[in-house]
């Protein structure tokens, strides 16, 4: 029994112990062919006089990376490989005057990123004077360069048109799927890469639950195409519940997020799926622990697409060899079907789900120690407007979590949401949306229990059978006040009904982006966010009931600067401060002898710090990043004010990947962070009613710092232009480092992986 209890507790601890998908405007573009932007006007460039004066006579090519908005205007320009600044500056200056007809997907103008080449041809040497008496020889005047053309027209460089969708909000940190694939220790999983981002403080090495700018894991919301995902990682340590091949990009909004996101007070992790493709393609992988595959193809004359993805763990089979009585099983699936109704209308049916089980079998009797599952079916209609899009979707959900001797909670949900994005003018784009969700919770006690057990009462009180309703609306507008100032004010209003309790939250938000020069930006993001009480970590169905203590409220503010060295290399520095009122953070506040009601304990939280992020895309021959966070996260409860149990002053991540040639690629990643507080002398029993007790220190001793090294080695075998097979060896914590918590050591938590991946 004890071992079972420990196993369950370990799992819960390893796991860390609603709301309607407030929606990021999902892509509304149809899978029609993308039409590249067309050059309308290019005033051209002249060979820099300074270069001529210094004797330069070479033909010089400057490749620019341009981002164009839906009107075809150049919104950003950078040299792909900065060279002679005399040429780069002229090219960048000229790029500002370029005019394009926008890229289009079907009939819809879309934002795009392209390569654009200026070729500087030196002027011919001045002709010899026919007679000295003729007009004086002019100084070598700047001569017009070769007429500029898009690179594709010249054939000098391929045009790369990337539809980049809606411009990302300020202050967001992103990794693309292709980048994450090269990140050591992430196992190719975009969601696991979040822990490497600045502002993210891990709980335990290898455990994909984390604090974001002082906010606990339960206050971080996960979204996939605007659909709330209740649970992101299989069995705590496992991979994410979404096949990586589906994910185009993962964004982390650490604070001051757009008004379209709501009902989470700590942070938003938002993933965007890849656009549907009509050509038959797919990928798969086989690893030590699991196997997964994903394939997509078109049908109906390429008006429709169908995607199937799944992953299955045979961990149970392997584990049974070592511990026959324990069964560990996880799986997930994704199904997506799209149908192009018209050039402007697309229907998408998207279903996904995940299942985790930890069970013990004794004498042929199986007992579920911990099990959780969720399923979502989302029907979406996307309509492209002349200057925007309308996106409406209906989501059905089923969540269930079972904890032995605690009970079983199920939730069925139905949500609807509609969002409009409209370009009001060249200088203003507005987004408005409404949504509502009904969650029907069904809480069941264990089959056999002592009716007097207060623990069960606490569980039933926290998670009773009930109906919760939420509804909200948001609006924001991105104003380009001039070429260098972009301001996005917004507001969000949410109403909550849980049992007999109700609450309304009004959340103003504002973000700003100030361009100083072409490569330097100042970023501000500020906002208020609310959230009902939350469980320690996100688990399907385990949404605490009632609003007795009110909504959690966070005041989020950040200011930073970003600098682009080139299209692939950038750096940023951000200062942040978050304040959390009525926060629920059981693991950040709790002491060793806390009662069950610590789950509903409220505290005043604060997170303040500095984030540094410098990166060069990991997909480059030499790529990498450095992410460093200096922060302090505190809690105040009653008379006490102390650092959060998982406050870490320094968190450092650095990764490097290098293309060794011959399709070999190697990478390493260093993770370092300082220790958590050790509150010795603090009473085991935390209870204000019992009277004064020992207080926790504001400057306690710390556990030892932690260091680990992750490694990755890949060999690819190319089978065609877009097809390959790769062997990937990866190890998280190759240094076998142990982690300290007070007097106790954990680990080493080392995850080796040997796998074969294929893509076609």
């Amino acid at each position: 029994l004890t071992s079972r209890a420990i196993a369950a507790v370990v799992l819960l601890l390893s796991l860390g112990a609603p709301a309607l998908a407030s929606a990021q405007t999902a892509p509304a573009e149809a899978p029609a062919k993308v039409e590249a932007p067309k050059l309308v006007r290019d005033p051209g460039v002249v060979y820099p006089a300074a270069a001529l004066e210094s004797g330069v006579r070479d033909t010089v090519r400057v490749v620019l990376i341009l981002e164009l908005d839906e009107a075809g205007r150049v919104t950003s320009a950078a040299a792909e490989n900065p060279g002679d600044p005399r040429f780069d500056d002229v090219a960048l200056s000229a790029a500002k005057k370029l005019e394009f007809a926008p890229a289009r997907r079907g009939a819809t103008p879309v934002r795009a990123r392209i390569r654009y080449v200026y070729t500087f041809t030196p002027p011919p040497p001045p002709a010899a004077p026919e007679a000295e008496a003729q007009t004086p020889v002019p100084d070598p005047a700047p001569a017009e360069s070769e007429p500029p053309k898009p690179a594709a027209d010249t054939g000098a460089a391929p045009v790369e048109v990337i539809v980049i969708g809606e411009k990302l909000a300020p202050a967001v940190k992103s990794f693309s799927h292709e980048e994450v694939r090269e990140m050591p220790g992430a196992f190719g999983d975009p969601f696991r890469a979040i822990e490497a981002m600045p502002g993210v403080t891990p709980i335990v090495s290898g455990l994909p639950f984390f604090y974001v700018r002082g906010a606990p894991p339960g206050n971080v919301g996960y979204f996939l195409d605007g659909i709330r995902v209740p649970y992101l990682y299989h069995v705590g340590l496992g991979p994410s519940v979404i096949h990586p091949g589906m994910v185009e990009r993962v964004d982390l909004y650490s604070g001051g997020y757009p008004a379209s996101f709501g009902r989470f007070a700590g942070g938003i992790v938002s993933a965007e799926t890849k656009q549907p493709r009509t050509d038959f393609h797919g990928e798969g992988n086989v690893r030590l622990f699991d196997a997964g595959a994903l394939a997509e193809t078109g049908f109906g004359g390429d008006r429709g697409t169908i995607l199937l993805g799944a992953r299955y763990s045979y961990t149970a089979a392997l584990l049974s060899l070592v511990v026959p009585e324990i069964e560990l099983d996880y799986r997930d699936y994704q199904v997506r079907a799209t149908w192009q109704l018209t050039d402007r209308d697309r229907l998408t049916l998207f279903g996904f789900g995940a299942y985790d089980l930890l069970a013990e079998t004794e004498r042929n009797e199986t007992t579920v120690l911990f099990g959780t599952e969720f399923y979502r079916v989302d029907l979406r209609h996307a309509h492209a407007l002349e200057h925007g899009s309308i996106d409406t979707h209906l989501t059905f959900g089923f969540d269930q979590t079972h904890i032995e001797e605690q009970g079983n909670v199920r939730a069925r949900s139905l949500g609807v949401e509609s969002a409009l994005r409209h370009r009001l003018s060249d200088a203003a784009t507005a987004r408005v949306g409404v949504d509502a969700e009904l969650d029907v919770y069904d809480s069941r006690r264990p089959s056999y229990f002592d009716p007097d057990d207060p623990e069960l009462d606490s569980f039933a009180e926290l998670y009773p059978t009930r109906n919760d309703t939420t509804a909200g609306m948001f609006a924001d507008v991105t104003l380009r006040l001039d070429r260098r100032v972009e301001l996005t004010p917004g507001i969000r209003v949410d109403g909550y009904l849980s049992g007999d309790d109700s609450a309304v939250a009004v959340e103003p938000r504002v973000a700003a982006r100030f361009l100083i020069g072409d490569r330097f930006r100042l970023i501000h993001a500020h906002g208020i966010a609310h959230q009902p009480p939350a469980f320690v970590i996100p688990l399907p169905g385990l949404q605490p009931s009632g609003l007795d203590g009110g909504l959690q409220t966070s005041y989020q503010t950040s200011a930073g600067a970003e600098f682009d060295f080139d299209a692939d290399t950038s750096a940023s520095l951000t200062l942040f401060q978050n304040v959390f009122l009525d926060m629920t953070d059981a693991i950040g506040v709790g002491g060793s002898g806390d009662d069950g009601d610590i789950l509903s304990q409220r505290s005043l939280g604060r997170g303040v710090g500095i984030e540094l992020f410098a990166r060069r895309k990991l997909t480059r021959k030499l790529g990498g990043f450095v992410a460093y966070t200096l922060s302090r996260s505190t809690r105040s409860v009653g008379r006490e004010s102390f650092p959060s149990n998982f406050d870490r002053t320094h968190v450092f991540n650095a990764a490097l990947g290098y293309d060794l040639g011959a399709n070999w690629r190697a990478g390493g990643r260093v993770v370092f962070y300082t220790g958590t507080p050790v509150q010795s002398g603090f009473g085991d029993d935390f209870d204000e009613a019992a009277g004064p007790g020992p207080l926790r220190s504001q400057s306690p001793e710390r556990s030892d710092p932690f260091f680990r090294l992750d490694l990755r080695l890949e060999k690819r075998f190319r089978l065609g232009e877009q097809s390959f097979v790769a062997i990937v060896i990866e190890m998280l914590n190759a240094t076998l480092s142990k982690e300290s918590f007070g007097d106790e050591e954990i680990g080493p938590v080392t995850i080796p992986s040997l796998g074969v991946e294929a893509r076609f």
């Binding site: 029994l1 209890a5 199904v335 789900g353 089980l357 002592d450 057990d453 019992a690």
Partner: protein, 284 residues
């Protein structure tokens, strides 16, 4: 249409694919566990071997965390909570309800109370607050004993608090653990023995040798090693040699390490204490 139906069917099937397994175990047996004080607690000890009579004025015990165990025991439920019991009451009071299948041993603990600890007949919220002394080691008092003793000439008063955590296994020495199965009810009664604290000749780690009851060494703690004011304090016990000086440095340690853990018995058979942590008794 056919394709659409297939897609719809596929999605519907996905929703049903992997529901968590349902409980298919056979119905278990129920074990109703109760607790009571014995006659010595209710009526007092009329006469010890050395001529003292003892009466308890207060005897509060925090007991619970009951669970089943055993090689052939399938555990269906635990009762991971505690109750504060007034051990001077002789009628059985509910301690917990457990479910299991097979041959199961009963285990429980005497420990400090927490906020969720239930109180039973004769125990007040004030008692609970008292036992949950703020700042106390291990979160509070496991057992509070107050009483009086007299040998006809002298009268002594004692008030001792125990902070020790003791886990008890009441079936390892029981050759026939509880047989639970088939939705049948079984009953177990834990008795708390008032004599336990004065069985000074008890051998270490022995659950069987009860020995005669003696109070004189406690009286000497006040008369010889204390201030003789009639109140036997923890400090005086600390200063008093134990009956078994090889094993225990003082009478206080003997009381704490040997006598206190021998308090409960199950179905008139002694229990064995499994876990003892180091918490000194405390008299206020």
């Amino acid at each position: 249409v056919s394709r659409a139906r297939k897609v719809t069917g596929l999605l519907g099937a996905m929703l049903l694919l992997a529901c968590l397994p349902v409980d298919t175990r056979p119905p278990p047996g129920a074990l109703h566990v109760s607790v009571r004080g014995n006659e010595a607690l209710a009526q007092g000890i009329p006469l010890t071997s050395d001529g003292w009579s003892i009466v308890y004025d207060r005897f509060l015990v925090t007991i619970g965390h009951t669970w089943l165990s055993g090689e052939t025991c399938d555990v269906y439920s635990e009762a991971d909570y505690t109750r504060i019991v007034d051990a001077r009451r002789s009628e059985p009071q509910k301690l917990s309800l457990l479910y299991g299948d097979g041959r199961c041993a009963l285990m429980f603990a005497v420990t400090s109370p927490n906020e969720d600890t239930l109180i039973t007949a004769g125990v007040s919220e004030g008692d609970k607050t008292f036992l949950r002394q703020p700042g106390a080691v291990n979160g509070g008092i496991s057992m509070r004993v107050e009483g009086r003793a007299t040998d006809g000439v002298r009268s002594k008063h004692f008030g001792w608090s125990f902070f020790r955590y003791s886990g008890y296994d009441c079936a390892l020495q029981e050759e026939t653990p509880f047989a639970l199965s088939g939705a049948k009810d079984a009953h177990a009664t834990i008795s708390l023995r008032g004599e336990a604290l004065f069985e000074l000749d008890r051998q270490p780690d022995s659950a069987l040798a009860l020995g005669p009851l003696r109070f004189t060494p406690f009286a000497r703690a006040d008369d010889v090693f204390g201030d003789g004011d009639g109140e036997i304090t923890a400090e005086e016990l600390e200063a008093t040699p134990s009956i078994d000086p090889v094993t225990y440095d003082s009478l206080r340690i003997q009381l704490d390490s040997s006598l206190f853990p021998s308090l409960p018995e199950l179905e008139q058979k002694p229990c064995r204490a499994l876990v003892l942590n180091e918490r000194p008794p405390h008299a206020d």
